[in-house]
């Protein structure tokens, strides 16, 4: 048995090598909900980013004089199905609001802002969370302080503090960056610095576990500097939890922004975001339910699809589940 030379063919793998990301993609594809979520999320993004270039109505235009009277309170075209004499127009597929502004156009523009806020706040929160998590996990001397800080943030009543902070800094920042830019920066910063705690905890735990592994010992034995150690060896290995919390972070940020807008603490008037559009229409929802339904539906659909993508990513990036 032992003297027979091993043929090279037996050790040769018979399939071409697969990269890690190909495996991840294969697992992700198998998750039906995640694929649907990704498809819906991408189409919402494309619609919202490219839509306003192709759409014919100006969302900010407030008609005056006779136009105002003929255009205001147009119903969506599908209203004809159950209300034949409703005021509809093919030029305004989703109708207009009480000032005669086009609803679909405002939804598209509002979506841009909501998604931009969500993405920017997510980036900020993930950066902060990763920075704090890696620092606390890698440098023992910072661990105690940073984790107490994390616990403290988790114990803060965030929604009340967010409301107070918006009220505090809105005018000051609006003075510097203009009403829209100021509110954008304010909301992104506030959402970012109040949602990094989960990421930091997960990253810290993973870094602590990784630090005990042999490859870290090997890297240290050849004199790798802490900076290189983190960027070359630790960060790539904690990428998967970071990606998952980044995905879920978009959902949280969009919801927080809409909640702030809904409570009247968001962007200035006549600056649409989905939450703001919903808030503005609540008073007249008995007469025009569609103005409430559409923005709310878009928020929910975006968040739902993002959550499904996050779920799929979590499964796909976990090597223990992969290939099952």
């Amino acid at each position: 048995m032992t003297d027979a030379p091993l043929s090279m063919d037996a050790t040769e793998p018979n399939a071409p090598p697969r990269s890690q990301w190909a495996d991840v993609w294969a697992q992700f594809k198998a998750h039906r909900g995640a694929m649907w979520g990704a498809a819906i999320f991408i189409s919402i993004v494309v619609l919202v980013v490219a839509g306003p270039w192709f759409y014919w109505n100006d969302p900010q235009l407030v008609p005056t004089g006779r136009d105002f009277l003929t255009l205001r309170d147009t119903r969506p075209i599908y209203t004809v199905l159950w209300e034949p004499d409703a005021k509809v127009s093919w030029l305004y597929p989703l109708g207009t609001d009480n000032l005669g502004r086009d609803t679909l156009g405002r939804l598209l523009i509002g979506g841009r802002i909501s998604l931009a806020v969500g993405t920017a706040a997510m980036v900020l929160s993930v950066l902060l969370g990763t920075l704090i998590g890696v620092t606390a996990g890698y440098f023992r001397s910072f661990d105690g302080v940073l984790m107490r800080l994390t616990d403290l943030f988790l114990a803060l009543p965030l929604l009340p503090l967010l409301l107070v902070a918006v009220l505090l800094f809105r005018d000051r920042l609006s003075g510097i960056f203009g009403p829209e830019g100021g509110t954008f920066i304010l909301i992104v910063t506030l959402v970012g610095i109040t949602s990094w705690m989960q990421t930091a905890r997960i990253v810290r735990g993973d870094v602590l576990a990784l630090k005990e592994r042999e490859f870290i010992l090997a890297a240290r034995s050849i004199g790798t500097s802490p900076g290189k150690m983190i960027s070359r060896h630790l960060l790539p290995n904690v990428m998967s939890p970071i990606m998952v919390s980044a995905t879920l972070g978009i959902a949280t940020a969009i919801i927080t922004e809409s909640a702030l807008s809904f409570l009247g603490f968001g962007f200035p008037p006549d600056f649409p975001t989905w939450g703001k559009l919903l808030f503005d229409s609540v008073d007249r929802m008995e007469l025009y339910p569609e103005r409430v339904i559409w923005p709310g539906l878009l928020i929910s659909l975006t968040v739902l699809s993002v959550n499904y993508v996050g779920d799929g990513l979590r499964d796909a990036l976990d090597p223990r589940i992969r290939g099952r």
């Binding site: 009543p157 965030l158 009340p160 409301l163 107070v164 809409s258 409570l263 709310g296 929910s300 739902l304």
Partner: protein
């Protein structure tokens, strides 16, 4: 266990003091003036006197300890006076709201029952729905029931309360006309008729809050059941001939409930925060709505006290969750 509880209680005191300082410093920066609502005919020097009387513009090393003293010493004294008929708080200054010039805690106690009713009922309903769903989904993993449950919980997770609230108002109160869209807090329940009314107006807010809590809890319950269903002790229980019902509902369920109970405890303060939005949608004048109006009116003592009460709830329920975990799971040793 007792020493652990005691140690945690001691640690939570500096935490809470620090949080109250953070809230205070943040509010110190507030740009508004509580005298903004006073008519312009009031002369400036009178306004200045009124500000002084309210304690506006006092330096922080006077104002903050004063608030602490009033909140932690005077208010409990008043409470004991009111309940036991003692007279500790004779002539002591309480925390006064700038908006209504009446003691903050009195208003909070007026508003608390509305919030507690809605939130409490929603929480009980949600637990009653979530646990069976979670158990059955885990027991029949990947069945159609499980898949449908997963989808519904995902939806409940993703739909924000300000949208689900609005949708149920449009459907049940505008189209169907079954329930009132505004919560009437002046309703006194003294007969079957008014009890029915109370039920009707509570259904929608409770539904909205319960949907959210149910989706979180049932997902957690399912995950916890799945963790336990593959354990060795389950095989042992089946091997010694116990019925399927006993195995799942006694052996597995009791073990899986341990983390779920702590999550239920941890979720209570978050529910109070989430109720802010639900209260706003259904116009329930509970403490969430009180907070919003106080923020808009620059009523700093009210905002400070309410935010601090929220913080106390969070710290307290974190502690309760940890202690419960230690009591329920004998494998956990804190000492």
């Amino acid at each position: 266990m007792l020493t652990y509880t005691f140690r945690r209680l001691i640690i939570s005191i500096p935490t809470l003091l620090f949080i109250s300082l953070v809230i205070y410093l943040l509010l110190e920066l507030a740009p508004g003036d509580p005298m903004a609502q006073v008519p312009l005919t009031v002369p400036p020097d009178v306004k200045e006197k009124m500000r002084e009387a309210l304690g506006v513009g006092q330096p922080i090393w006077i104002a903050f300890p004063k608030w602490l003293y009033q909140f932690f010493v005077v208010e409990p004294m008043y409470f004991s006076d009111a309940v036991f008929g003692t007279s500790f708080a004779e002539g002591q200054q309480r925390v006064i709201s700038w908006q209504s010039r009446s003691p903050v805690m009195d208003i909070v106690i007026q508003r608390l029952p509305q919030t507690l009713w809605v939130v409490g009922v929603a929480y009980v309903v949600a637990i009653a729905i979530a646990l069976p769903i979670g158990i059955y989904s885990a027991y029949r993993q990947y069945s159609w029931f499980d898949n449908a449950g997963t989808f519904i919980t995902m939806v409940g997770f993703s739909v924000p309360p300000f949208f689900s609230g609005v949708v149920v108002i449009v459907v049940f109160s505008v189209w169907l006309g079954w329930f009132p869209s505004i919560y009437d807090t002046t309703l006194v329940v003294d007969s079957w008729e008014s009890f029915k009314k109370q039920l009707q107006q509570m259904i929608m807010p409770v539904m909205v809050l319960a949907l959210q809590i149910t989706s979180q809890l049932s997902r957690f319950m399912r995950a916890s059941m799945l963790d336990n269903l593959n354990q060795d002790y389950v095989r042992t229980a089946r091997a010694k001939g116990l019925g399927e019902k006993t195995v799942v509902l006694v052996h597995v369920l009791r073990n899986s409930l341990i983390p779920v109970v702590t999550v239920i405890a941890l979720g209570i303060p978050a529910i109070f925060g989430g109720a802010i939005i639900t209260e706003q949608v259904f116009k329930v004048n509970g403490i969430g709505q009180l907070l919003i109006t106080a923020i808009q009116a620059n009523d700093l003592p009210m905002v400070q006290t309410l935010t601090f009460i929220f913080a106390v709830l969070i710290v307290l329920f974190n502690l309760i969750a940890d202690i419960l975990y230690g009591i329920l799971d004998p494998r956990i040793r804190y000492d």
